[in-house]
Symmetry: C3
Subunit: 370 residues, 3 copies
């Protein structure tokens, strides 16, 4: 006999945990949490309350009152505090109870909601669900280019999905799927599939690079090049960083003088794919993209982010969900997949992430319970 | 591989059972079972058939034919008997097979549906799901005041909920939530929250008493008092009795002569909250209320029970269900709740109920299977 | 933490398997798979892709790419091949990868989808999910009479159900339910219930025979007899064959000269009930019926198959599903059912099937994984 909705397993993390805890995850787009509302989202099987203080600073704590376990998001704000709707306990934005209307009104020492470090950066709210002593904001990777430039040249979107988060990472880390799954607009004319990327890794990241030439250029770029129907040289650079962020830069040029292709000398865009497990079967998928052309065109900007959102939801999404239904929560490698040259990067990511999970000490897990 | 709908666990009760069996539960409001229909409800994970004999006496038996396990409620009545829709076995209202149309028409000794003692009392049908030898109707607590008085002064309602039954008991046993969760109409003007009740217990009950003064009186009563806007003294008395019934009396008076407040000298009402688990995640919640004022007003009566039903469904209900989703079926105490002075009564109930469950002997459980 | 959709358990079959593997199941009606589409159905918890080659021959393979486990049915056909929608691997109709567009385009040895022997016969597609070395089409029972005769005298239908497949077999093997569950049109006027059939069995089949007289004849036949309101002699012969097919012949005659009643001398019909588990809680139920009267009447034919489909869906279906909800996936005998004389045939089937499952060697199971 088990409940249909598992309670948080923050209290029972162990060596077999499917999640990495001591790291920064995206909890929400910055725009999802306005100045008024109590926003709730389940992350790593834990209900999390997020709201902004009067000065705009976002804060996060477990979305349950420590008394009778009612979600605080069902309560009301009182300035920067939040009041439980059930028996009126009030908590400050660090989760500390600062008013108990009951009995002698003494505040029980244990009346403390677990709060989570939360940082607003690059248009996202980043949360740390592990040992808070280790929650150094400098560990958030630098995605500064997203917020460096014209506001009409960047877009963000959120796409909840019914699949395991590692299936989403796999999808981005193996871009050889582009010519098979996606439409004409981002076709590489078959260039990407036969060309295994150059893959590099270090202690906490995996990078893959592709360089190719195609005629015409990718249709998302060719109209911005000098000779739209002619050949152009392209690049893609992707970098995964733990736990679940993949930064992708892609661009094209027709200038033969550039030997080292990058976004400074190509027409292109700087994207971030990042995702956070709700549980092992559902994932919060966030995406942002900045382009370096037609930067002030708000209408084009809205069309662009909508087109990318729709491609993920209509093309990648059903494929990823269906693969997840076939795989369940089994470890990929236990299913003996046939691996292709294009799998080098996603396989390195899976192995590195599994190693990082194993390395999270049980002592660290114990700290989670404070 | 398990089925999505668990079969009855009456056959597998054990020391860790989440339910008390040897006790009276409410199976239905008396009005839910008419003179014709075969009524079915799942109680403690067991499908139960209830119907009324021609003389009006309600009877209960397991809602499955012992041959091929089809619910008898899908069959037809034949006088006081019920006929299985699948192969025509007929059972009398004690569950004994009295007609087998097959083969030599001999009735197999084992062709006996388990019947359950059922008593109609106080507007409810009370069922005994444990050892029938112990099913003494005198063990049904006396809720006589519900049926003692004008028929237009009492109302009943039924509210199925998606939470554990103990969460519902907790809700009624700690009335300090009234000023936080509920609206103006039953506000105590903050009186109840700081005031821990006087709590008493005996072997099978837990009682709590509140006494306070407020201005004006609770809005459900003040219009019936001599000076509606003036101060009035109030009382609430609640008594839990196993397994899951809480009787609540509440009233107000402006007569300074009364020192011992009760429903004989106050304007007030006599309520019964009682609930029966469907399983560990769903509960049948029943409620009845009798008032001692405006007793013959049928329209007021209908408004009153509707208003109380709506308050439970709209205000208590979502909070209880959300707390259950956070708690799952975990034992409350295993989650280390912060306990407040107002928790004394509900905690005593949880502890007493747990002890009673532990005390149900395995031998008693074995008897269940007859 | 488990997924809501179990991955295939073909890789983990064991001695406690709830299914027989080395046998022919019906995967689909022949008409369900047209000349174009990639048809997908889950059989024994395994996703199966079925399509027809250009020459019309149907083929079956596991509906997942061995690379990233995407259902191939989401892909596209390329002649007789199928192309995975995700990364473009192409497979021939035996499941062998014949094109890999990645890297050096070498085809990994392991890039082989498990294919399943599939035979189109008697209007059905029969699939073998076990050890393919044993997949002898001669083991498909002879249901030739279905396709031997006028095309307007036979009908087929498909009825997915929310119950265990053995509950469906039980239903057909004990026809004593006809007078209780079904309507006037196939009433035996109480003849079948008291009359246990003659039951015979051999190594792989169980047969039951009923012979009776009724007035008037079954209403599905009486209008085709010389004296519709008079008495007629009837027969039913049913034969179960593993795993889950029951052939039923039923007819009536008013000619006293016939002593050995059968479809050659009676007005009657030749039916096949056959079913295939999707999992332990859902079953694909297929039905076909051929009559030996009014054989060229297309309108009557359409009415006839619709009436039978409706009777199964409206009358048998809810009863079988409800029985399953009570039983769960428990073994019938573990629930101590009361058995009647009419249960001899279905009990023999359950016992024989359980024995056949037990006899499937683990070595055979290992072969499954090729």
């Amino acid at each position: 006999m088990t409940t249909t909705q598992p309670a948080s397993n923050l209290n029972s993390s162990n060596l077999d945990s499917p999640y990495l805890y001591n790291c920064w995850y995206v909890a929400a787009l910055a725009t999802e949490v306005d100045n008024e509302a109590l926003f709730s989202r389940t992350l790593l099987e834990t209900s999390v309350l997020i709201y902004r203080r009067a000065d705009g600073t976002p804060v996060a704590m477990q979305d349950r009152c420590p008394h009778r376990f009612v979600p605080l998001s069902m309560g009301k704000r009182d300035g920067d505090d939040v009041v439980c709707p059930y028996h009126g306990l009030k908590f400050d934005c660090s989760g500390k109870c600062n008013h108990n209307p009951h009995g002698n009104q003494l505040i029980p020492k244990a009346a403390q909601v677990r709060s989570f470090p939360l940082v607003e950066r690059y248009g996202f709210l980043w949360i740390w669900l592990g040992d808070r002593e280790q929650a150094n904001p400098d560990l958030i990777p630098n995605y500064g280019p997203l917020v460096d430039g014209h506001p009409n040249a960047v877009g963000y979107t959120y796409m909840p999905r019914d699949c395991h988060y590692e299936v989403i990472i796999d999808n981005v880390m193996d871009l050889s799927h582009v010519d098979h799954l996606h439409g004409e607009i981002i076709s590489t004319r078959g260039q990407l599939t036969p060309k295994p990327p150059v893959v590099e890794e270090d202690a906490s990241s995996v990078t893959a690079h592709w360089r190719w030439e195609q005629t015409p250029a990718m249709l998302i770029f060719n109209q911005f090049l000098p000779a739209p129907q002619d050949s152009a040289r392209h690049f893609i650079d992707i970098t995964w960083r733990a736990p679940a962020s993949v930064q992708l830069s892609v661009g094209a040029t027709q200038n033969p003088e550039y030997t080292d292709l990058n976004l400074r000398n190509c027409t292109g865009q700087y994207d971030l794919h990042t995702c956070t497990p709700e549980n092992q079967n559902r994932t919060h998928y966030f995406f942002a993209t900045r382009r370096n052309h037609l930067e002030d065109d708000a209408e084009f900007n809205a069309m662009k982010i909508k087109a990318m959102h729709d491609a993920f939801v209509d093309e990648d999404g059903p494929i990823m969900d269906a693969a997840h239904r076939e795989m369940g929560t089994s470890d990929l490698f236990s299913l003996n997949p046939v691996l292709l040259p294009s799998d080098v990067a996603p396989v390195k990511v899976r192995r590195k992430l599994a190693e990082m999970r194993r390395n999270e000490q049980p002592s660290g897990s114990a700290v989670n319970n404070r």
